[in-house]
Symmetry: C2
Subunit: 472 residues, 2 copies
């Protein structure tokens, strides 16, 4: 193995091959559920160096885990426990290569932190419309490798929809130069979308050309209370009809989600009283503040007339809007403070959500009396973070012992309604077993054939995304 | 071979296996450039029957050309001249299976004509935002197999972006049930986008779940004359900034394009005088006619103040708007009436278009004095139909003898600017040679590996999209 390390040092510089000391920043995932051990951490400084590293590893049969900001939630970006996998950190490939304002595009290297890319776009008077909690740490390469979602998917789509072109190092260490900046290109198979969302198993993204948007003249935010989830779905339909493409966010929170925030962060101000359900609506307006406010007020008035909503609050400043979003984002932190919980990141057709929540809430309560349900998420995308909190005062270890049972109830209910067991977080290591249980065997066979075709030696992040074929 | 036909008759019914008589409707492409000969035309009536046909053909080593409305422009949907290929027509799979208004989706079978799908969506008060010239004949399956573009891509994307899920028969005759109706699903590789745009070479699409949009309250259309193409690009930027997501169409036409329409269709009324360039702008407004008109007027006023545009016309009725679009669509017919021409469907970064057109117009005029350039298309998408018309009075055969030379000038200029040699029409049979010349060898190798993985026996539309590897 020291031959490999020596060659890697020659390829990227000795200072960029870390094989000793505390490597836990690269070996442990963000949620600290996966503790791996790396053969070494290599930090190439260019696409050519990434290709050289891959070629050296391919020669030696050493497998590679590509890593960006290491903020993934499914254990896809840390090495396994064998000590034989190399972590390839893209952190040094962090340049904004170009911004083309007339074409509404920017080209960014994989290791560029999302927030820096957003700021560069803003500096050119444009909007990079990808936004998520980890944006201060996560990287463009990781966002694309996992097809990240976030809070503006309703209007702008997932990371996939923001990307026009990729530069990728293949499993054999070749460079696919696919940095297209085109809105239309029908010349052969869609390699870009195949690599996006493949979690480092089909190629290593080294740079991307991303779409930019004209900056909206104003961002408007409102909250409203609702008696039922059915009302929230109806309000969403009304918002689509009245706000059209201006609708950029539609988040829903059940009573317990915000109760937890009240309990754990008592200093936060809530603009609305407790209610069975609360929604947060965000609108982007291309004309300005006054026009945007009026559109939102028209929506809320129509919703009041139909009896869909109760109390409402319209943010009258950026600070108030941020405070509303902060309540939404505090739910995750409040859950952690409250104690153990079992998380799910699911998607359903919007038309199936109410029935799913009613049936699955009830099934979980029957199976585990006393559990508390934290139902919240991106209703506009049909994406719920459907989390199960430990009963008050119950034993944490005993509760977590029910994880498989809870997951089976939730995922079986999701599959029965043609939903997704991983809406925006991916599969990684965490959900491999669920892939076998819930993905169609025909789709799995196609995916395995593609993996074998593009990475026959299994160099790139092996054992992730695709479970091994069932043995009988 | 008669064994195969016998088994096919047993599988789909004798009336749905056509092996004699005039089969030219299935054997000749829409532009009548490709005259093939089919072993037979098979018209299965269900997904299970499609799968049975594929299994029978796979057993016998008979290759299959899937066909929808047969309106493709690159010879991808007709059999070769060998008489050994089967045409599998999806025409009988034409049902609208479901419309889910709350989820803003519809599920449609592959053989459903686009216009019927549009009408079904409209009947539910929603918009299927895919629109193209052939919509009265082309089918959803063909639209997706070729990733069709059209006139609303600027706002809603290509056919790819309208699709959430697919039902596909694989090369081995299995059914991949991927009719997801979800906006978010990160469970493994993006098989949907891999099959979309693969022109029947990786799987046969039998049904699709498509996104629907809220219907805009009003559609506004305007035209303006401009002194230069640079002004048109600047006007596009202004339209993005002022209309935001309301901007749904931005078409450009050079003087000769509209001169040809004037000459060949003298009865058509032109709202504007001849000018070096003319643009057609379409805006969708979610509030209504009055608000939309005002937004368009604001844009035109700002453009006038900056000296970008000359004369303007704002359609004040649906009839006037349709007449404007009709002028744009009449260009293709006027070209045909005028005589032979060499067509290109190219895409470029918007920021590179002016320099491309100036340089390539000049290079073509040097190479072939007297030629006339029909430069028009979807400027908002960076997609030009950049066509070369025979010099007035010149010999047609002599002119068409220069096709390879003309293509080389155009496609080399496109490639030098990171453009696409096929923006929305695909590759089919027509552009196989251009794929070898202009696509990266690394990308071609990845595509060939994928084709071999998903269709190892080469049953599905062999010889299309991917040129054979170069022999040395």
């Amino acid at each position: 193995m020291s031959v490999l390390l020596e060659r890697l040092r020659a390829a990227v510089g000795a200072a960029n091959v870390l094989a000793e000391g505390d490597l836990s920043a690269w070996e442990v995932d963000w949620r600290k559920r996966f503790h791996g051990r790396a053969l070494a951490v290599v930090r190439p400084g260019s696409t050519a160096e990434v290709a050289a590293v891959v070629r050296l590893c391919a020669e030696q049969g050493t497998s590679i885990v590509a890593q960006g900001g290491n903020t993934g939630l499914v254990g896809g970006s840390v090495p396994d426990a064998s000590g034989s996998q190399l972590v390839l950190s893209l952190a040094r490939l962090d340049r904004v290569r170009a911004i083309d304002a007339a074409n509404l595009t920017m080209t960014v290297e994989a290791g560029c932190v999302l927030q820096r890319a957003q700021e560069a776009a803003a500096g050119a008077g444009l909007l990079l419309a990808l936004s998520l909690g980890a944006e201060g740490t996560c990287t463009i390469g990781g966002n694309l490798a996992t097809n990240a979602g976030g809070t503006q998917v309703l209007r702008y789509g997932n990371a996939r929809e923001q990307c026009l072109g990729l530069e990728v190092v293949t499993a054999s260490g070749e460079i696919w130069q696919g940095l297209s900046a085109l809105r239309k290109d029908n010349t052969g198979y869609d390699l870009r979308n195949l690599v996006i969302g493949s979690e480092g198993t089909l190629g290593i993204i080294t740079a991307a050309t991303l779409k930019l948007q004209p900056r909206p003249a104003a961002l408007l935010t409102a909250m409203a209370t609702l008696p039922t989830l059915e009302s929230a779905v109806e309000l969403l339909g009304l918002a689509h009809a009245l706000l059209g493409p201006g609708l950029t966010g539609f988040e829903v929170m059940n009573a317990f989600s915000l109760d937890l925030v009240r309990k754990r962060f008592p200093a936060l101000r809530h603009p609305l009283p407790p209610a069975p359900w609360t929604v947060l609506v965000e609108q982007s307006d291309s004309e300005g503040e006054a026009h945007g406010s009026q559109a939102l007020e028209t929506l809320l008035t129509a919703a009041l007339e139909r009896g869909l909503i109760g109390d409402t609050a319209l943010a009258s400043s950026i600070e108030q809007a941020n405070a509303m979003w902060h309540l939404r984002e505090a739910i995750t932190l409040a859950q952690a403070a409250e104690g153990p919980n079992i998380k799910h990141d699911i998607a359903l057709p919007v038309s199936a959500i109410c029935e799913f929540v009613a049936a699955t809430d009830a099934a979980l309560r029957r199976a585990l009396p006393g559990i508390r349900l934290v139902d919240f998420g991106h209703l506009g995308d049909g994406n719920l973070h459907y989390n199960v909190q430990c009963p008050e005062g119950a034993d944490a270890t005993e509760f977590l012992g029910h994880e498989a049972e809870v997951n089976a109830i939730v995922y079986d209910a999701v599959s029965a309604r043609n939903g997704s067991i991983s809406a925006e977080h991916g599969i990684g290591s965490l959900k491999l077993g669920e892939m076998t249980a819930h993905k169609s065997p025909v789709a799995l066979a196609m995916m395995r054939a593609i993996k074998a075709a593009l990475d026959p030696a299994g160099v790139l992040n092996p054992g992730r995304v695709l479970p091994p074929p069932a043995t009988r």
